[in-house]
């Protein structure tokens, strides 16, 4: 280290304290901090400036470097996770080495979290002193470049995954699209119309699904799940578990003769695609436009799998010999440079709110069930029917079921107001029933959304402001007999009302997928409190994650509607394309290295490294680190009893100096 230091001359540290407008200066005495910095050893320049990250701010650093006044830089401003890159670059542009730089976080860790100005200033001084003590021991480093594999994997075949896949494939990139259901399409395939334009959902989605199927650059793996991810940005290795469909995908032509031939003459199994409103056979396709249009056998219900004594009429009738009861799970392994997660959401389980009677009263439906019901290709061919087959004369739509509720989910699910309005319109159109919307607040921000709300007001749909207290079949008056009564406080009038209806639609909110936690662990990313995948920065990196090369699209990141999901999918594709077209990634040079002459041959580090980057060289009698495999966690360094292992940017010396600095002065 000392040899490297000498190449850079005696340490001359420049300290730059940022006001960040008033974000820092309001709480921290910037002038006092600057004067304090000037008094520290090795500090040759100490300045303060309104916005260090601005061009003039960076120019101040660069000029001092060019003038030879400094050879090390400390900027006391925001978090290094925010602007470390900016100032490293400025240091390099000024002629220094980007890594002869250290940041003191006096905004996120000081001014924004401290009330007492004197204590805030003291804490800022301590952090500045720590950075100065440390940067004196920094050494020039170079970044290694590694090539980026040009292929991309997209996980989830809903509208977000489909759009990202098509964007990437149209740009000439090879895409692996992995979907766990037997078909792509996701939730959007289940909807009848989309708000606010009332476009037919299938009409705009199915062409994109077919385009995915026929695109030469897209490898579509449905009925498949990611089993394991290893590697890092630019060079991921992904293992995909391909579940057996028991129907050969390359042989099946989608004639559906096998389904007719199944020895089950009538369908008996609840149909997942129609959310249980209809039945399917053990061999089935989820819906007529399923992509790929390939049958799948459900081994849980198929007689052959249960008894091995079925006459296998499905196989007899198949002219392509596509049915194969011996199929087994396959593991496919591919290398990709980037990954886009578009794993979507699940709807709130309405049985969790018992007082709304879902699962107890036959005529209480979830919004997703009604979506299927109003869909012409759905279980009732588009007819809205009550459990007894009659048409409802009055319908209640209950908003915020599993949203904005301290007992379930505190957040707003963003789409329910608009889809409730859409369903209100469709129900009115199909049944001419009286439709009541029970809402807390109408939330209709978006292009054409408020106008759609206005339109519904004109269509004589009733709007009652208040959260529904209870839904019951207990009649207090004659008109309530045989009906479901909504009990609600109408907060605009200030009275409790009882409104009898024939049918109730619960506008269920959006929740993270049940296995979101397992999925995020596989991809080494974080989740928010609620379980949505966490973006790197809500504004500046909204589709990136804390794992480089893994991007987010659609509702897996948080509740969003179709336009937002598609826009985000485009953004994720653009980020992945930028990575691929640059062709390389520059790695943070924070890898471990071995000072072989100090190694005592204890082998402790070899077993600790989670990446197998350390081997013991028997000729040198020392542990050696493979820099290409090391990810820079520093676990080995902390374990080395002889101090032979060190980590660039986090050497023992640098951290010990930081500890001294943070405590020595204030």
């Amino acid at each position: 280290m000392s040899a490297e230091m000498s190449t850079n001359g005696a340490p001359k540290v420049g300290v730059y304290v940022c006001h960040c407008g008033i974000n820092i200066a309001h709480t921290v005495d910037v002038n006092a901090c600057t004067a304090f910095a000037a008094s520290l050893p090795y500090v040759t320049v100490a300045r303060e400036y309104k916005f260090m990250c601005s061009d003039p701010g960076q120019e101040i650093i660069q000029q001092d470097l060019r003038d030879g006044k400094i050879n090390r830089v400390v900027v006391a401003s925001c978090s290094p996770l925010m602007h470390e890159g900016t100032f490293r670059k400025a240091t390099a542009v000024g002629g220094g080495n980007a890594f002869m730089f250290q940041m003191a976080n006096i905004r996120e860790h000081v001014s924004w979290v401290t009330l007492d100005k004197e204590m805030a200033t003291d804490k800022a001084k301590a952090l500045i002193a720590a950075a100065v003590s440390r940067v004196v021991h920094h050494a020039p480093l170079v970044r290694n470049r590694v090539p980026v594999h040009p292929d991309v994997m997209i996980v989830g075949g809903g509208i977000a995954g489909i759009h990202a896949a098509l964007t990437m494939a149209d740009a000439g990139k090879k895409v692996y699209l992995v979907e766990r259901e037997p078909t792509i399409g996701g939730h959007m395939a289940k909807f009848d119309k989309t708000f606010p334009t009332l476009d037919c959902s299938a009409c705009i989605l199915t062409p994109k699904m077919s385009a995915v199927r026929s695109h030469p650059n897209i490898t579509l793996w449905t009925y498949s799940e990611v089993a394991e991810v290893s590697g890092f940005v630019g060079n991921f290795k992904v293992k995909v578990r391909r579940k057996p469909r028991y129907v050969k995908e390359d042989q099946c032509v989608g004639c559906l003769d096998c389904i007719d031939a199944c020895i089950y003459k009538t369908a008996k199994v609840p149909d997942e695609f129609n959310v249980g409103l209809s039945k399917r056979k053990p061999i089935y396709v989820p819906f007529p436009q399923a992509t790929p249009l390939v049958a799948v056998i459900d081994p849980e219900t198929c007689i052959e799998f249960k008894t091995h004594r079925c006459k296998k009429s499905c196989a007899e009738v198949c002219q392509k010999d596509a049915i194969d009861f011996t199929q087994t799970e396959q593991i496919a392994e591919v290398e990709v440079g980037s990954i886009i997660l578009a794993t979507g959401f699940k709807t709130f389980d309405a049985t969790r709110i018992a007082r709304y009677g879902y699962g107890k009263y036959a005529n209480v439906y979830t919004s997703l069930e009604v979506e299927r019901m109003v869909n012409a290709a759905g279980p009732t061919a588009g007819e809205v029917k009550l459990a007894d087959g009659s048409k409802p004369k009055s319908v209640a739509i209950v908003h915020c079921v599993g949203s904005r509720d301290a007992h379930t989910n505190r957040y707003c699910s963003r789409v329910c107001c608009m889809y409730s309005l859409k369903l209100a319109h469709l129900l009115k159109e199909r049944t001419e029933a009286e439709v009541y919307n029970f809402y807390i607040d109408m939330r209709t921000p978006g292009k054409g959304y408020e106008e759609f709300y206005d339109r519904l007001l004109q269509e004589n749909v009733h709007f009652v402001r208040g959260r529904v207290a209870e839904i019951s079949d207990w009649a207090m008056e004659k008109q309530e007999e045989g009906k479901l009564t909504i009990r609600v406080e109408d907060t605009l009038v200030g009275v409790v009302r009882r409104i009898p209806v024939d049918m109730v639609v619960l506008s269920v909110g959006l929740e993270p997928q049940a296995d979101a936690d397992d999925v995020r662990r596989k991809f080494n990313i974080s989740c928010s409190h609620e379980g949505w995948f966490l973006e790197r920065h809500p504004k500046l990196a909204p589709v990136s994650t804390f794992t480089d090369g893994v991007f987010l699209a659609g509702a897996c990141q948080g509740p969003k509607d179709i336009p937002d999901s598609v826009a985000q999918a485009g953004a994720a594709a653009a980020e992945a394309l930028a990575l691929i077209d640059r062709g390389y990634v520059e790695l943070e040079p924070n890898t471990a290295y071995s000072r072989e002459e100090l190694c005592s041959s204890c082998h402790t580090c070899v077993a600790l490294c989670p990446y197998g980057a350390i081997t013991f060289d028997t000729t040198k009698h020392a542990a050696v680190v493979n820099g290409a495999l090391c990810k820079g966690c520093g676990t080995c360094v902390a374990s080395c009893p002889s101090g032979a292992l060190q980590q660039n940017l986090f050497t023992d010396e640098q951290i010990f100096e930081e500890i001294k600095g943070v405590l020595k002065y204030v």
């Binding site: 996120e108 204590m119 080494n524 676990t635």
Partner: protein, 170 residues
């Protein structure tokens, strides 16, 4: 913190080691959300809690820290797969070692704080600051000064007796 030698004004100095991916990010989130908390904790960032060398903790105490806080990702969430498990094992080792040196176990703490848990950073720092304030300073010199301050206060006002536990008054 210039006047940290009267019991009322004893401001503990706590050195924290936070991993880059979870706890440091959570501390940034607490800042962005403007959550106010005690100014007594000074954070040193490492890439992973696996980098927390026990010597760092001992050095912090040697250099004058009253307590040390360690923060890493929740079990199973480590950005580097299992660095936090290493930190946990070392934590037990460090605490035993410190206890055998007469340093109270409340002066070292390990917390799992995820990137989304800004509120947990606030809570942890406030809790720990209060606990360490109640313990009083670690340095014998400062304790002696505190004790003499107590005595002179008792002499000035004979009716008020020195507190049984040092520093609890703050």
């Amino acid at each position: 913190m210039s006047d940290s030698t009267t019991p009322q004004n004893f401001e503990p100095r706590i050195v924290a080691f936070f991993c880059n991916w979870c706890t440091y990010t959570a501390a940034d989130l607490a800042g962005t959300a403007r959550m106010k908390y005690a100014a007594n904790v000074r954070v040193i960032r490492t890439m992973c809690s696996g980098r927390f060398d026990p010597q760092f903790v001992f050095a912090a105490f040697r250099e004058g820290a009253d307590a040390v806080l360690l923060g890493g990702c929740h079990p199973g969430d480590c950005h580097y797969m299992e660095g936090n498990y290493k930190a946990l094992r070392r934590f037990f080792l460090m605490r035993r070692f410190l206890e055998s040196m007469g340093i109270e176990r409340d002066r070292i703490r390990l917390e799992w704080i995820a990137a989304s848990e800004g509120d947990k950073v606030q809570r942890t720092i406030n809790d720990m600051t209060a606990a360490v304030r109640a313990l009083g300073p670690l340095s014998m010199e400062k304790r002696a000064l505190l004790h003499s301050a107590d005595l002179s206060a008792a002499i000035d006002k004979p009716e008020s007796r020195p507190a049984a536990t040092k520093g609890g008054a703050a």
